[in-house]
């Protein structure tokens, strides 16, 4: 088995992103049932969302700067150059929306959601936006990964 640092960092990045989106869904459900007794749990969920997104940012950023250039060169030579030109370019900038929303979620969830319908609606919207944008970023990542895969397959086929 040959697991490189690049593999570990990339998979940890994707995992933290998925966990962040799942945690945001948890916050959404807690907020739907907002009561005094689950207020602390909702706030902890929001903190978990932000922590996961920060971890995904740092790990993804490190991988993007140190390891992605090699993958990018492979993708651009393959049959799916749009995997980088469209999906990676969009993903790397779209992620900042998710990150900012996750930071804001920690602030919005500090209100008494069980007593304030406006604050509750805000948390519901923001947590769902984190879920949707997070899933979009994950999906784009899968397309980038497949872009590298089809490029490598094409290279192997061409070499035969």
């Amino acid at each position: 088995m040959n697991v490189t640092n690049s593999d570990v960092i990339l998979l940890a990045h994707a995992t933290f992103g998925a966990l962040g989106a799942l945690a945001a869904l948890w916050v959404f459900v807690e907020t739907l049932n907002a009561q005094e007794r689950n207020a602390a749990r909702t706030r902890k969920g929001a903190l978990l969302v932000a922590a996961c997104m920060v971890a995904a940012w740092i790990l993804g950023g490190y991988w993007y700067v140190h390891f992605y250039p090699a993958d990018k060169a492979i993708i651009l030579k393959g049959p799916w150059p749009f995997a980088h030109e469209l999906f990676m370019e969009t993903k790397e900038h779209l992620f900042f929306l998710t990150l900012i929303l996750s930071f804001y979620l920690t602030i919005a969830s500090r209100e008494k959601l069980y007593a304030n319908s406006s604050a509750r609606k805000m948390v519901l919207w923001v947590s769902m936006l984190v879920v949707l944008s997070g899933l979009a970023v994950e999906g784009f990542g899968a397309i980038v990964n497949h872009g590298a895969e089809v490029a490598l397959k094409a290279a192997v086929k061409g070499g035969r």
Partner: protein, 105 residues
């Protein structure tokens, strides 16, 4: 605060507005730096990579703008419904804007 006064708290409203503005700023700077190479080079010179600079700028701007707006009455005057609409619209416009930019540019 109770159910009879469904307003967002001062800090909450301020950071909601800040988030919406930063989200739009992020898309704008993504497009402008691609179209204006000297800006991209300048951003890269600050941290070694324009993307890194952009992310840090977003986070710093979000924190600063939120803190500044917290000391004004502006976000509270906007009202929670409009803030939710503005933030949601900002995310939709910014997201589709980014996708459209990289699809067409």
């Amino acid at each position: 605060m109770d159910a009879a006064t469904p307003k967002l708290g001062r800090v909450n409203a301020a950071y909601a507005l800040s988030a919406a503005i930063v989200i739009l700023f992020n898309t704008l700077i993504s497009c402008v730096k691609d179209a204006h190479v000297p800006l991209k080079a300048f951003m890269a010179s600050l941290t070694g990579k324009d993307w890194t600079t952009q992310g840090l700028a977003d986070v710093i701007l979000f924190a600063l703008l939120g803190a500044i707006l917290s000391n004004t009455g502006l976000p509270e005057k906007i009202g929670p419904k409009r803030l939710i609409c503005f933030l949601t619209a900002a995310v939709v416009i910014a997201g589709t804007g980014l996708f459209a930019w990289y699809a067409l540019y």
